[in-house]
C-alpha cells in the first residue's frame, strides 16, 4: 500500500490538535478506529491492536508506529487489519508462545512511566478482558483482591506475569489442595489460595 493511502487512513482518526508536535492518534480517535473495525473498547481486540502497532501508551499511536506496525502486519486496509487482529486473538488460545508477549506488555500499558507497579484497580478491570476461557480463577481472584482492601494496593510485574501460570495450574479441581506454599509462587498467590481453601 502506498504511503499516501496509509496517511489518508491515518488522518481519519488523528488528533486534530497538533500543537504538541508530532501527529498522533489519541484515545478518542482510537475508539473510532476500533468501532470502525467492529471492536468494543472493552474487548481484548482493542488491546491487541494497540499492542501490535507498537504504541507506548494504550490508544496513542504516532504516525511512525502506524506506518511500521501496519507494514509489519502486511496489512493495507481495514478489512485486512480486522482479519489480522481476529486471527491473532484466535491464535492465543492455542499458542502460548504468541500470547505471552502480548499479555506481558499489557502490564506496561497499565503502569505509569515513573512507577514499577500497577494499581490494583486497573488490574481488576483488565484481567477478565485479557484472560480468556472461563476459568473460575479470574472472578475469584478479583473478589479476593476486593476483600483484601488496603493490604493489596498494587501488583508487581512478577505477580502479573505469573498469573496465566496460576490459572493453568488451578485448572483442575483438586489442584487447590495440591498447591504448596513452599513452592516458588509469589506470596500474594499463597494468600489467595489459602483464602480460596478457607471458603470451601
Amino acid at each position: 500500500m502506498s504511503a499516501r493511502k496509509l496517511k489518508i487512513w491515518f488522518n481519519q482518526y488523528k488528533d486534530p490538535d497538533t500543537s504538541g508536535g508530532e501527529e498522533k492518534i489519541t484515545p478518542e480517535g482510537y475508539q473510532k478506529l476500533c468501532e470502525s473495525l467492529g471492536y468494543s473498547m472493552d474487548g481484548i481486540e482493542a488491546l491487541v491492536l494497540t499492542w501490535k502497532l507498537g504504541s507506548k501508551d494504550m490508544g496513542t499511536i504516532t504516525y511512525q508506529d502506524w506506518e511500521s506496525g501496519l507494514k509489519q502486519m502486511c496489512v493495507s486496509n481495514a478489512k485486512e487489519l480486522k482479519q489480522n487482529i481476529d486471527y491473532t486473538v484466535a491464535g492465543f488460545s492455542s499458542d502460548v508462545a504468541s500470547y505471552r508477549p502480548f499479555y506481558r506488555s499489557v502490564f506496561n500499558f497499565l503502569k505509569l512511566e515513573s512507577q514499577r507497579t500497577v494499581d490494583v484497580e486497573d488490574v481488576k478491570a483488565v484481567l477478565p478482558v485479557v484472560i480468556g476461557g472461563d476459568s473460575w480463577v479470574v472472578p475469584q481472584f478479583i473478589e479476593f483482591l476486593d476483600k483484601s482492601g488496603d493490604k493489596v494496593k498494587s501488583i508487581t510485574r512478577d505477580q502479573w506475569q505469573l498469573f496465566p501460570n496460576l490459572v493453568e495450574f488451578l485448572r483442575t479441581a483438586d489442584a487447590v489442595a495440591g498447591y504448596n506454599t513452599d513452592d516458588s509462587w509469589p506470596k500474594l498467590y499463597d494468600d489467595f489460595v489459602t483464602w480460596v481453601k478457607s471458603r470451601s
Partner: protein
C-alpha cells in the same frame, strides 16, 4: 634267636636234624575255662551291684578278665557285662516306674532315681576298674563298640526312654523348680544329681533345657502379666529406701520402682539357680528369657507409668535400676523415646506459658541440671541418651521464637546488678558457664547479642553493674563458646570505657578544664560501631552543660582531629541540687529531665508549649519526660489539671512543697510499656539486619549457580545462614530481588531462577 658266626659253620658241617630239648607243649585250655571264668565274673558283677563283697579279690577278678581277653574271649565278656547292667537297671526301675508321683515311704520318684544313679555310677566305676584290661584292649581294638563307661551309661539312657522316664523326670524336675520359684523350700540334692545325670546321658540339652526354658517363659509371662497389669503410679518414698526385703511379689499392687526391685531379685535367684544345680552354659538363655518376659515385653508400659514421675522426683537409684534392666533387655530405644517425650513435654510447658517471665531462666537451668544428673548418674552417659537429651532440649527451647534469648539477656542483666540476689548457691563462674550453655541451645543468637549489648550499654553508662570482673567473665565465656567475632562489639564497648576514663583524666589535667564556673562533668566517648544505635535527639542543653560539652569536644579534637563527635543526649544523666520547702534535695535525673527542671530556675510556671519551645523536645518524648516528673512516684512538678497523663494544653509549676524522707532521689523515666517497646525495637532491628544478610546471600548464590531451582535455592540459603529463615521469608526476599531485577524467572519453568548479571 641269635645266629652267631661261630655256630653257622658247625651247623653246616653237621647237617643233623635240629632237636629242641625240653620243649613243652602248649597246654590247651580246659573246655570249661571260658564259661567258668565268665560265670565267676558274672557273679562278681552281681555282687558289686548288690553292694556285696565279691568272692574273689578284685585283683583276681582283674586277672580273670585279662586272661579271657588274651584268649580272645573279650566279646563274650563284653556281652555279659551288657546284659548284667541291663538287667540290673531294669529291675531297679521296675519299682520306680510304677510308682505314682505322690510321695511314698521309699521317697519321691526323684529321690529314688537319685539314689539309683549314685549307686549305679559308683558300681560302674568299680566294674570299670575290674574290667580295665577289657576296656584297654578289646574295646579299643573293636570298632563300633563303646567304652565300658559309655556302655554302662548308655544302658540307662536306653532304658529311660523305653519306659518314658525321660519326660517324666523332666516334668518332675521342672515342677520342683517351679515350687522353688513360688518361694517354697525344696530339697536341691535330687536336682543336683539328676541334672548331672542328664548331662552325663546327653539328655540335658534335649529334652530338658527346651522344656525348662518353656516353663520359665510361661512362669514369668504369667507373673509379669499379673504384676504389670496392676501397676500403680509411682509412690515417692523419701525416707525409706526400697529394699528387697520389704517387697514381696504376692503383695497387691506395686509401683514400678518396686517392680524393678522384684525383677532384680528374680534375676538374682536365677543366677543362684545356675550355680546351685544348673549348668553354666544355660546362664545366658535363662537370664535372657527371664528378662525378656519380665522387662522387655513390658518396656513401653513400664516407661509410660513411671519415667515421668521418676525424673520429676529425681529418683536416681530407681532410674539406675530401670536403665540397667532395660540395657540388659535391649530396650534402650524405648527409654530413648520416653526420655525425649518427657523432656519435650515438660520443657514446652515451661516455655509456652503465655506470660512467661524472667523466672523461666532459673527454671530451665534447674531442669537441665536435674536431667544432667540423671544422664551422668543412672544413665551412665549412654551416647544415645546423651544425644536425645540435647536434641529434645534444643527442640523445646526453640519452640518459641525470640522470647527465650530475650529473657536470657534480661536474667543476666539482673545478675549483674548489685541489687539482685539471684542464684547465690552456685559460684558465679559455674552459673555463667551454665547460662552460656543454655544459650548454645537457642537459635537466634544474633538477637541475644543485640539484647545483651543494649543492656550492657545501660549498665556501663549508668554504672549499675556490680562488678567489672563479672562482666568480663561473662564476655570471656561467650567468646569461648561463640567465637571472637560474636563478642567483638562487646569487647569494643569495654575498651571504649577504659579509653574514656583515661581521656577524662587527661582532660581534667588539661587547660580545657580550667573554667572557674565549671560544673562537675564527666564524658565518655563511644565508638558508634560497637554500641547500640540510639535515636538522635534534639535538645537545647542548659548553658553550663553546653559549655562543658564544648570544652570537652575542643580537648578531644586536639587529640583526634579527624573524628566526628555527636552528643547522645538521651544517654546523659545528671544530679541537681534543688531547694524545696522541706530542704535541699539531690535529684538523680536523666539529662533530659534535668534540662526540663532547669527551666524552672527562672520560671515558676510553664506551659507545655513553652517547655517544648525551650527544650526542642518532641511529642511523645516530651510527654514521657513530663509524666515522669509530674505523675509518678516523686512529683517535683505540679501538673494542671491533675490527670494521669500529659496533654499539650497542660501547665506545669515547680512543686516547692515536694517532700521525701530521702535526701537523694532517683526519678526513673522508664515505664514498663517502654521496655516492651524497646524489646520490639531490638527484635525489629535484628530482623532487618537478617534480611540484609539473606539478600546478600541470595545474590551470592545466584551469582555462583547462575540458574537454580526454587527449592534448591532455599535449601542452599538455609545452609549458609546462622539463623533460621522460614520458607516464606526466603520467598519474600526472592520476590523482592525479582522486582529489583537481580534475578528473573525462567520462561518455561516459573520455579527456576536466572541470575541477571
Amino acid at each position: 634267636m641269635w645266629a652267631t658266626k661261630r655256630s653257622a659253620p658247625a651247623l653246616e658241617r653237621a647237617s643233623k636234624r635240629l632237636v629242641i630239648k625240653g620243649l613243652k607243649t602248649i597246654s590247651s585250655l580246659p573246655e570249661s575255662y571260658k564259661t567258668e571264668t565268665i560265670a565267676r565274673l558274672r557273679s562278681a558283677v552281681q555282687a558289686i551291684q548288690q553292694s556285696q563283697p565279691t568272692e574273689q579279690s578284685l585283683e583276681e577278678l582283674y586277672r580273670d578278665c585279662e586272661g579271657l581277653c588274651v584268649h580272645n574271649f573279650g566279646s563274650d565278656v563284653y556281652s555279659m557285662l551288657q546284659s548284667e547292667l541291663g538287667q540290673h537297671t531294669r529291675s531297679c526301675f521296675s519299682g520306680i516306674c510304677s510308682q505314682p508321683d505322690t510321695d511314698s515311704p521309699k521317697g519321691t520318684v526323684l529321690e529314688q532315681v537319685m539314689r539309683f544313679w549314685i549307686s549305679y555310677t559308683q558300681q560302674l566305676a568299680m566294674i570299670k576298674c575290674v574290667f580295665l584290661y577289657l576296656d584297654r584292649t578289646y574295646v579299643l581294638q573293636t570298632q563300633n563298640i563303646a567304652s565300658l563307661w559309655s556302655m554302662g551309661t548308655g544302658v540307662v539312657k536306653r532304658y529311660l526312654s523305653e519306659c518314658d522316664m525321660r519326660s517324666r523326670l523332666t516334668r518332675l524336675i521342672i515342677a520342683e523348680i517351679t515350687k522353688e520359684r513360688d518361694g517354697k523350700d525344696i530339697d536341691q540334692k535330687p536336682l543336683v544329681t539328676l541334672l548331672s545325670m542328664f548331662v552325663e546321658l546327653n539328655l540335658y540339652t534335649q529334652p530338658f533345657i527346651p522344656a525348662f526354658i518353656k516353663e520359665t517363659r510361661e512362669y514369668y509371662e504369667r507373673e509379669s502379666r499379673r504384676l504389670v497389669g496392676q501397676l500403680t503410679s509411682v509412690k515417692q518414698q523419701n525416707a525409706e529406701k526400697v529394699s528387697a526385703e520389704n517387697v514381696s511379689s504376692s503383695v497387691d499392687a506395686m509401683d514400678v520402682p518396686r517392680y524393678l526391685v522384684h525383677v532384680k531379685r528374680r534375676l538374682e535367684e536365677e543366677r543362684q539357680r545356675i550355680s546351685d544345680y544348673l549348668v553354666p552354659s544355660s546362664k545366658d538363655v535363662l537370664l535372657t528369657t527371664t528378662i525378656t518376659e519380665l522387662i522387655e515385653k513390658h518396656a513401653e508400659k513400664l516407661l509410660a507409668t513411671s519415667l515421668g514421675a521418676m525424673i520429676d522426683g529425681s529418683m536416681l537409684p530407681d532410674l539406675a535400676s530401670l536403665f540397667s534392666l532395660l540395657l540388659s533387655a535391649n530396650r534402650i530405644d524405648s527409654l530413648k523415646r520416653s526420655w525425649a517425650v518427657h523432656i519435650k513435654k515438660t520443657g514446652m510447658r515451661m516455655v509456652q506459658t503465655p506470660e512467661v517471665g524472667v523466672s523461666l531462666i532459673p527454671h530451665l537451668l534447674e531442669f537441665k541440671r536435674k536431667l544432667d544428673n540423671i544422664l551422668y548418674g543412672p544413665f551412665q552417659k549412654h551416647p544415645i541418651l546423651t544425644n536425645t537429651l540435647r536434641k529434645a532440649f534444643e527442640e523445646f527451647v526453640n519452640s518459641r521464637r525470640n522470647k527465650p534469648v530475650q529473657l536470657l539477656a534480661k536474667y543476666i542483666d539482673q545478675c549483674m546488678r548489685p541489687s539482685s540476689r539471684t542464684a547465690l548457691e552456685d559460684d558465679i563462674d559455674t552459673l555463667f558457664g551454665r547460662l552460656v550453655s543454655l544459650l548454645m541451645f537457642m537459635q537466634g543468637k544474633d538477637l541475644f547479642e543485640a539484647h545483651y549489648r543494649r543492656d550492657l550499654a545501660k549498665r556501663l553508662l549508668l554504672g549499675t553493674s556490680s562488678s567489672v570482673d563479672s562482666e568480663k567473665l561473662m564476655v570471656q565465656k561467650l567468646r569461648a563458646e561463640c567465637g571472637a567475632g560474636f563478642t567483638s562489639r562487646l569487647d569494643g564497648m569495654f575498651r571504649d570505657m577504659d579509653v574514656s576514663e583515661d581521656l577524662f583524666g587527661k582532660f581534667g589535667a588539661s587547660r580545657y578544664a580550667e573554667d572557674p564556673k565549671r560544673i562537675a562533668f564527666h564524658a565518655n566517648v563511644l565508638t558508634q560501631a560497637f554500641w547500640p544505635t540510639y535515636e538522635p535527639m534534639d535538645l537545647v542543653t542548659p548553658k553550663q552543660v553546653e559549655q562543658a560539652q564544648n570544652n570537652y569536644v575542643d580537648f578531644y579534637k586536639e587529640k583526634h582531629s579527624g573524628r566526628k563527635l555527636q552528643w547522645q543526649h538521651s544517654l546523659g544523666t545528671c544530679v541537681l541540687n534543688v531547694r524545696f520547702d522541706q530542704g535541699m534535695k539531690e535529684l538523680v535525673l536523666s539529662l533530659v529531665q534535668g534540662t526540663v527542671m532547669l527551666l524552672f530556675v527562672d520560671n515558676d510556671e510553664l506551659s507545655y508549649g513553652q517547655i517544648q519551645e525551650n527544650t526542642a523536645l518532641e511529642g511523645a518524648e516530651l510527654r514521657r519526660i513530663l509524666q515522669s516528673l509530674s505523675c509518678g512516684k516523686h512529683r517535683v512538678l505540679v501538673k494542671e489539671p491533675r490527670s494521669k497523663s500529659v496533654s499539650e494544653t497542660d501547665k506545669f509549676t515547680f512543686n516547692t512543697k515536694f517532700s521525701s524522707s530521702h535526701v537523694r532521689i532517683k526519678i526513673s523515666q522508664v515505664i514498663s510499656k517502654e521496655i516492651e517497646a524497646e524489646n520490639k525495637e531490638v527484635e525489629e532491628n535484628v530482623q532487618v539486619d537478617r534480611m540484609y544478610k539473606v539478600d546478600a546471600c541470595l545474590v551470592r548464590l545466584m551469582k555462583t549457580h547462575r540458574k537454580i531451582e526454587h527449592n534448591e535455592l532455599v535449601a542452599e540459603l538455609a545452609k549458609h545462614m546462622r539463623f533460621v529463615v522460614s520458607a516464606l521469608e526466603a520467598k519474600e526476599r526472592i520476590e523482592m530481588l525479582i522486582d529489583r531485577d537481580y534475578i528473573k524467572r525462567d520462561d518455561s519453568d516459573a520455579s527456576v531462577y536466572h541470575y541477571i548479571a
